[in-house]
């Protein structure tokens, strides 16, 4: 937790190009009703929501910063810290759960060396759990950079980790 806070403090002063933020706000015609949609687009573009980004959005929409933070901390999709270059999501939906998703998650945490919700120090991987990927026939399932995989073994996982740049 303290580590996370430290990373967040450091991240607040990071220099960022905010042109894309302005473009996205323009696309929604600076309408504050579209705040969640704007933040989604920015999250997908920048892979995280930094303080400078949120401040800029709120200035442009003329709303208090707390409203953006309320949303950014309420919904699962948003991240207040930089995400890894590769995203790994392990499905913990009910169908996967009864087919051994927890054992798969154990293998994944061991292979990457981080717990769900964390990013590796070299910002290579971010590991998350999700509640249903909607491909229950593959269960226990996971997604690595958009590619769906079924019940990977420890060996295959180790190869994937070693092979990632």
């Amino acid at each position: 937790m303290i580590k996370l806070l430290k990373r967040w403090k450091e991240s607040r002063t990071m220099e960022q190009d905010l042109t894309k933020v302005d473009e996205i706000v323009d696309k929604y015609e600076s309408n504050d009703e579209s705040l969640i949609q704007i933040l989604l687009d920015i999250q997908n573009e920048y892979r995280w929501l930094s303080k400078p980004i949120l401040s800029r959005v709120c200035d442009r929409l003329d709303i208090p910063l707390v409203r953006a933070y309320h949303i950014a901390t309420f919904y699962k999709h948003f991240s207040l810290l930089p995400q890894g270059r590769h995203s790994v999501s392990v499905c913990l939906g009910t169908a996967c759960h009864v087919r051994g998703a927890n054992r798969l998650l154990d293998r994944v945490t061991q292979a990457i060396g981080i717990e769900p919700g964390q990013t590796t120090p070299d910002e290579k991987f971010t590991l998350n759990t999700v509640n249903c990927l909607g491909c229950c026939a593959l269960g226990p399932a996971m997604v690595i950079d958009g590619e769906y995989r079924s019940n990977l073994g420890a060996k295959e996982l180790a190869e994937i980790v070693a092979g990632a740049d």
Partner: protein
């Protein structure tokens, strides 16, 4: 395409699309739903495309990427029209053979067919047992349509129901038909859609809204996703008809951003509708204006609740509010707003087209029509199934689902997601409809049906759902926020072998309190998974509490892995695979698990060759001592 300005324009366009199509022409359809996509269906589609080109067959054979067919277990699914030859689990390397054998020489590739229990291969998709007892009125067109082609939808009679409503019926008549059909909401509660529509229509206010709820958050349920991905126009047509009946000029589709394909397909569909004048001002030359906005949800289960969802559409955090006044009267911006789920909307065009009596012809006394279920878990044929209301659970699980995987024993089926309950074997003959499921302590929910076998621990399942809900509770009301937490404390204690004799009573009391006092349905129904498992599987809870034993061998703190020295052949496989080096032994020396090092990941059990089966799980018994220094293999 030019804008359609009248009923005649629509019918002319349909005629021209149908006339340009030859029903006897060869057409390869490839299921491209999310399940098949995960099985690399796109590679199969590309392989077909290049194979057709290489053989100079372009123009002679159509290739169509369709929505989900439902039989996800055996994807990617390829169906070749007009004979409807169905190939399962197709890989890119099978493509060349399919083209030369089936498409050119009209011969069937037997090895890719479904093989029945009697060993006979089945070539037509509709004859496969998985599909045979289904009635696919809502989901059936998925396999015929390219979701990104409005022409495909029009060719099958799309938007004829809208035309009928606009030109032949008054809004009141539309509502009457929906009321008479007794269409009940497919999203969970089963509230009659017609009555909800009427409330919104009669509520005071000029601006009204209609909304598609595609925030399908139940883990293990994906029918709304597949319907919206596979046949978006059917949902949108229902929405426009609803808007006309209610008197709304603005609609929303609230869809989770976790469903990117659904977002894409629905956005493409809306663009096509605007282009054709099926959205916008003066639709089909009438005085009716209507448009739709797509709102992506950012990942919160509670935002699927109607008042929370509407708050999110306003651009604020999606938390529920007390509903002294229903959202049908005061919803988005305090205006009357009618919310229905994806499947409910998709039923509307069918009812308008065929009439209320047709719809009432299927189903039970209180629940009419069909329901799509996502049949998943330990069942042989995982997939989406659409069955008439009232079909017994047993038929769904055994006749359609093919029974339990790996010849295990059936234990229970969980319906209704985190708000639902667990149904035991003794109730397998229960006819599935809204009322029967509620009576059994569960609910229809959005239609998740998770089958569990003897290897599933129901206490662990209850804990799983509570964990999920603890994470998803918005925390606004105390009974839900604290109630779930406290129930979880008790369940964790039971799963860890520290349960007390009072625990089941505490759980029941907490559950009753949450049912009565929580603000929204999330908290009110949160105890269901716990209370229904206590009701039907009390002995299993008691085994955990009194004997510290998990009969299914799931709860980690209550099990130990053990290698039987009589059976171990010292093959070294488990030793090499153990991720924490907890197995000692060596060549010709029987392997032993060091219990203090073991993390109970189960790898040794998985890798031990079946011909030895030396590794087993023990629960509630002492681990037999193994002589120090190692035993030689006999």
């Amino acid at each position: 395409m030019a804008k359609l300005k009248s009923l005649l324009d629509l019918e002319e366009l349909r005629k021209s699309i149908v006339a340009a199509r030859d029903p006897s022409k060869l057409c390869i359809t490839i299921c491209s739903g999310t399940g098949c996509h995960a099985y690399a269906s796109e590679k199969v589609a590309e392989a077909f495309s290049s194979e057709i080109e290489q053989r100079g067959l372009s123009g002679k054979i159509d290739l169509r990427r369709t929505g989900c067919h439902g039989f996800c277990e055996r994807g990617p699914i390829v169906v070749i029209f007009p004979d409807e030859i169905c190939y399962l689990s197709v890989k890119p390397e099978d493509v060349s053979e399919i083209v030369s054998e089936t498409l050119i020489h009209k011969k069937i590739v037997e090895r890719l067919l479904y093989v029945g229990d009697d060993g006979k291969p089945i070539s037509n998709e509709n004859d496969i047992p998985f599909y045979k007892s289904q009635i696919r009125i809502v989901f059936g067109d998925n396999r015929l349509i390219d979701p990104q082609s409005i022409e495909d939808y029009l060719a099958l009679g799309g938007y004829a129901a809208l035309a009928k409503a606009l030109f032949e019926m008054t809004p009141e008549e539309v509502i009457e038909v929906i009321k008479k059909s007794n269409l009940r909401g497919r999203g969970g509660g089963g509230f009659p859609a017609g009555i909800k529509w009427e409330t919104t229509r009669n509520a005071p206010g000029d601006a009204k809204y209609v909304i598609v709820n595609a925030d399908e958050g139940d883990p293990g349920a994906y029918m709304d996703r597949s319907l919206l991905e596979g046949n978006p126009h059917s949902v949108l047509e229902g929405l426009i008809i609803g808007a006309y009946a209610i008197g709304a000029n603005q609609g929303y589709v609230y869809v989770r951003q976790e469903y990117p394909l659904a977002v894409d397909n629905v956005s493409v569909a809306i663009d096509q509708m605007r282009e054709l004048g099926l959205l916008g001002e003066k639709i089909l030359g009438t005085g009716f204006d209507f448009d739709i906005i797509v709102h992506r949800g950012a990942g919160a289960f509670v935002s699927g609740e109607s008042s929370a969802l509407m708050t999110a559409i306003e651009g604020r955090v999606g938390e529920p509010r007390p509903k002294y006044v229903r959202t049908a009267v005061s919803g988005i911006h305090g205006r009357p707003s009618n919310l229905n789920n994806v499947e409910t909307w998709a039923n509307v065009p069918l009812i308008i087209k065929h009439g209320a009596d047709w719809f009432r012809g299927v189903g039970t006394e209180g629940s009419k029509g069909t329901k799509i279920f996502s049949l998943v878990g330990k069942v042989k044929h995982t997939g989406l199934v659409e069955v008439p209301m009232g079909m017994p659970l047993r038929e769904i699980i055994y006749d359609i689902g093919g029974g339990i995987r790996d010849n295990k024993k059936f234990k229970a089926v969980q319906t209704g997601g985190p708000s639902g309950g667990v149904i035991p074997e003794s109730l397998l003959n229960l006819p599935v409809d809204f009322d029967e499921l509620s009576k059994a302590g569960s609910m229809m929910g959005s239609g998740g049906m998770i089958v569990m076998d003897e290897d599933t621990c129901v206490v662990d399942v209850a804990r799983y759902f509570l964990n999920f809900l603890a994470d998803e509770s918005c925390g606004k009301c105390i009974p839900c926020r604290e109630g779930i937490q406290q129930m979880l404390v008790v369940l964790n204690r039971i799963c860890e072998g520290n349960g007390t004799d009072d625990d089941l009573e505490i759980l029941t009391d907490l559950g009753d309190m949450m049912r009565d006092c929580s603000l929204c349905a999330l908290g009110q129904t949160a105890p269901n998974p716990v209370l229904s498992t206590i009701q039907y599987f009390r002995e299993e809870y008691e085994e955990h509490i009194k004997n510290h034993r998990c009969p299914a061998g799931v709860c980690k703190e209550l099990i130990n892995y053990y290698i039987d020295p009589e059976k171990c052949q010292a093959c070294m496989i488990c030793m090499r695979n153990c991720p924490v080096g907890a197995i000692e032994g060596g060549k010709n020396i029987v392997h032993v698990i060091m219990q203090e090092k073991c993390t109970k990941c189960g790898t040794c059990l998985e890798v031990c060759p079946p011909r030895f089966s030396a590794v087993s799980k023990l629960s509630g018994v002492e681990i037999p001592e193994v002589a120090a220094g190692g035993i030689k293999v006999r």
